[in-house]
């Protein structure tokens, strides 16, 4: 996983609530056995007409937002399915950070596993950042994970919260599995205890 430290980038304003995972990547694009190459289908129903041509009024079809690395949206971003194809598609397009008042839980988790930083900020702050983002390429936003601040184009700094464990993993690009496996002895002894206390627990292997 690519570490996330600081990012200064164009932000795409997407002032919509409930941007669900079927909008981010519809089910028909899930028939892949790979993680890569999904960026071309990102936001497919919003981005493309039925004949495959671009919808000119969708923000990611406009300059400078074609190169956006940040999205700023409204409530409940990423609701719906557990599909990790959603963050894979965002990442493949180039998005590294999403700022919204709140996120659906599974999407929020999935983002971290892929080096995407989801930031929760109050709605009025998001609205302010959306206004900044509308100014385009001359109004880049900076996200500094170490210091936990979003820096507006005018220099104003906005603090955000994040769990320490997630911050550490993201800053260092650490993979969760490797970290958990260091606790292998605890897992072994937990399993041994459970075999004693719940001897009735059946196997799934018939």
């Amino acid at each position: 996983m690519e570490p996330f430290t600081t990012l200064t980038a164009v932000a795409a304003p997407m002032p919509m609530q409930n941007i669900d995972t079927d909008k981010i990547i519809p089910a028909r694009f899930l028939k892949t056995i790979k993680r890569s190459g999904l960026g071309i289908h990102l936001f497919d129903p919003l981005r493309f007409n039925k004949d495959g041509s671009e919808k000119p009024d969708f923000v990611l079809n406009q300059e400078p937002y074609r190169k956006a690395q940040v999205i700023i949206a409204h409530e409940n971003f990423g609701c719906g399915s557990s599909r990790e194809h959603a963050p894979w598609a965002l990442l493949d397009f180039g998005i590294r950070c999403i700022i919204a008042p709140d996120f659906a839980d599974i999407f929020y988790n999935n983002s971290f596993k892929n080096g995407i930083l989801p930031i929760r900020l109050p709605r009025p702050v998001c609205d302010q950042l959306i206004e900044d983002a509308k100014l385009g390429g001359n109004a880049r936003v900076t996200v500094d994970l170490e210091r936990q601040v979003v820096v507006r184009p005018n220099g104003e700094e906005i603090h955000f919260d994040i769990d320490l464990f997630r911050k550490h993993s993201l800053l260092n690009g650490l993979d969760d599995i490797g970290q958990t496996l260091q606790h292998g002895a605890s897992i072994d002894s937990f399993e041994a205890k459970r075999r004693q206390s719940q001897p009735w627990m059946p196997s799934t292997a018939a």
């Binding site: 002032p15 919509m16 609530q17 409930n18 669900d20 079927d22 909008k23 519809p26 089910a27 028909r28 899930l30 028939k31 892949t32 056995i33 790979k34 993680r35 129903p45 039925k50 409204h74 409530e75 409940n76 609701c79 719906g80 399915s81 557990s82 599909r83 990790e84 963050p87 709140d102 659906a104 839980d105 599974i106 988790n109 999935n110 596993k113 892929n114 769990d163 320490l164 464990f165 997630r166 969760d176 599995i177 970290q179 958990t180 496996l181 606790h183 605890s186 897992i187 937990f190 399993e191 459970r194 719940q198 001897p199 009735w200 627990m201 059946p202 196997s203 799934t204 292997a205 018939a206």
Partner: protein, 470 residues
């Protein structure tokens, strides 16, 4: 943690599965049951392979293909190449990693959230995960069951644990006797309408109250299933006699003395008197009529007797513009009565409403009636065992005589990954769980409702109050 503090059902399951707590409060949570399907697992198996890791507990894992499977004759194979590759990849992976697998031609094959409970793999008091958001379904047994992403699927495969932080507790209490024509689907749609699609975010819901207690397991699964649509990761119902009777005798469930030991433990799980809930919501059955969604989020729901809301009455601008967009997409007008809106397709099935009880409810409405001209009505049982039982009860005959199509079990038109899809502009009365734009096929329009309401729409050719059919 003091053992004397009153705890919720969720707290108890959580506490008994914490392997270790890390300094920032993140927990390594032990997972008892891992359900695997073809769409969200290939990249996880690939990850294991690349890092030279093995699957830690194949004996706690079970795999089945359900999303991509055709609902027509299985012996002909899967025509669409990308779907076939996904299923073949799963079949190769289960062999390589030694995962128990239920083959497509096995009578026990079906939607993962139907077959887990049906086979006794999902049990009370356990932690159950699957790379699928509707894993919340299994919570109806009094299990902590939630959906995970593919990276987490790989994490469970490698470690049999997940890194998690505890959720907040929410209690939703439903009281009163359900009215004529109402079902569990109407309860859960009314709940989502009340608390909104983000109302449960960060919470695990426990459903309580005499209305919930009176439900059979099928109804309880329907409610837990849609917890995710209320933003919650999981939705639990305390195990009781209904639960134990359901689990007893199922293929993988504990047997004999072991079953009695298990029940003794399961009886300790219900929330203690005075346990703390961060959020409490109450609902009475007086607020519940046959419900139907008008928009493209499950929270955009009204009683069938109501009218489509007017965006002009919504003070919040973001909400107002979303409502406008939804009305445009659904081709509906503010103030419109949903009854009498014609439908093109009716879909009865999915992990929400694909159980035998749901098919009985649909057949009861279909009996002696005919599907309206020009309407395609699909009934897709949730599993091979459900299909078999329905056929033993003669429900397939009733439905076929009425002009419904009787299909092979899988997810089907719930998300349109197999050939069952809406064509652009088609309107569908669906017993599934998501009415998102394009969910059942690009530019398709979905109205969520109960199985009997769906059957009523099929025979009248329009959205209908099932109570008027008598």
């Amino acid at each position: 943690m003091s053992a004397t503090r009153p705890r919720t059902l969720f707290d108890k399951i959580w506490d008994s599965h914490v392997v270790e707590q890390l300094p920032d409060g993140t927990c390594i949570l032990y997972i008892d049951r891992h359900l695997v399907h073809e769409v969200t697992s290939p990249q996880a198996f690939e990850g294991l392979r690349m890092s030279g890791r093995r699957l830690r507990r194949p004996d706690c894992t079970i795999a089945v293909a359900d999303h991509n499977i055709p609902t027509t004759d299985r012996r002909l194979g899967i025509k669409e190449e990308d779907s076939r590759i996904q299923v073949e990849t799963l079949e190769k992976n289960v062999v390589e990693f030694g995962v128990p697998y239920i083959p497509i031609m096995d009578v026990r094959q079906g939607i993962v959230h139907i077959i887990g409970p049906e086979l006794g793999i999902s049990l009370p008091g356990t932690t159950i995960v699957c790379g699928d958001s509707h894993t919340s379904t299994h919570g109806a047994l009094g299990a902590l069951a939630f959906g995970i992403g593919t990276s987490e699927v790989e994490h469970v495969m490698a470690t049999q644990t997940l890194l998690q932080r505890p959720a907040k507790n929410m209690k939703i209490e439903v009281t009163g006797t359900l009215g004529f024509g109402c079902s569990a689907k109407d309860i859960v749609l009314a709940i989502i309408g009340k608390i909104t699609t983000a109302g449960g975010t960060g919470h695990v819901i426990e459903y309580t109250g005499d209305t919930i207690r009176a439900l059979d397991m099928a109804g309880r699964f329907t409610i837990s299933n849609m917890s995710i649509e209320a933003g919650a990761r999981a939705g639990l119902i305390a195990p009781d006699q209904t639960t134990f009777d359901y689990v007893r005798g199922r293929e993988f469930a504990p047997k004999g003395e072991a079953f009695e030991q298990a029940v003794a433990y399961w009886k300790t799980l219900p929330s203690d008197q005075g346990a703390h809930f961060d959020t409490v919501v109450t609902l009475t059955t007086a607020e519940i009529a046959p419900m139907i969604t008008w928009g493209t989020t499950p929270g955009a729901v009204i009683p069938v007797t109501g009218v489509v809301p007017n965006p002009a009455d919504e003070p919040d601008e973001a909400k107002r513009s979303q409502m406008q967009r939804m009305l445009e997409y659904m081709a509906l007008q503010p103030g419109q009565n949903l009854q009498d809106v014609p439908v093109d397709v009716v879909f009865i099935g999915s992990c929400t409403n694909g159980r035998i009880e749901d098919i009985r409810a649909a057949a009861a409405v279909a009996r002696g009636r005919k599907v309206a001209d020009g309407v395609q009505a699909l009934v897709v049982p949730g599993s091979g065992l459900v299909k078999q039982q329905a056929e033993q009860e003669g429900l397939d005959r009733i439905l076929l005589e009425a002009g419904f199509e009787w299909r092979e079990p899988c997810c089907s038109m719930c998300l349109g990954m197999n050939p069952d899809k809406l064509t652009p502009g088609q309107r569908c009365a669906s017993t599934s769980n998501r009415n998102f734009e394009g969910r059942q096929g690009p530019n398709g329009r979905t109205h969520l409702l109960s199985p009997s309401m769906a059957a009523a729409a099929a025979v009248t050719g329009r959205l209908t109050d099932v109570r008027q059919l008598g």
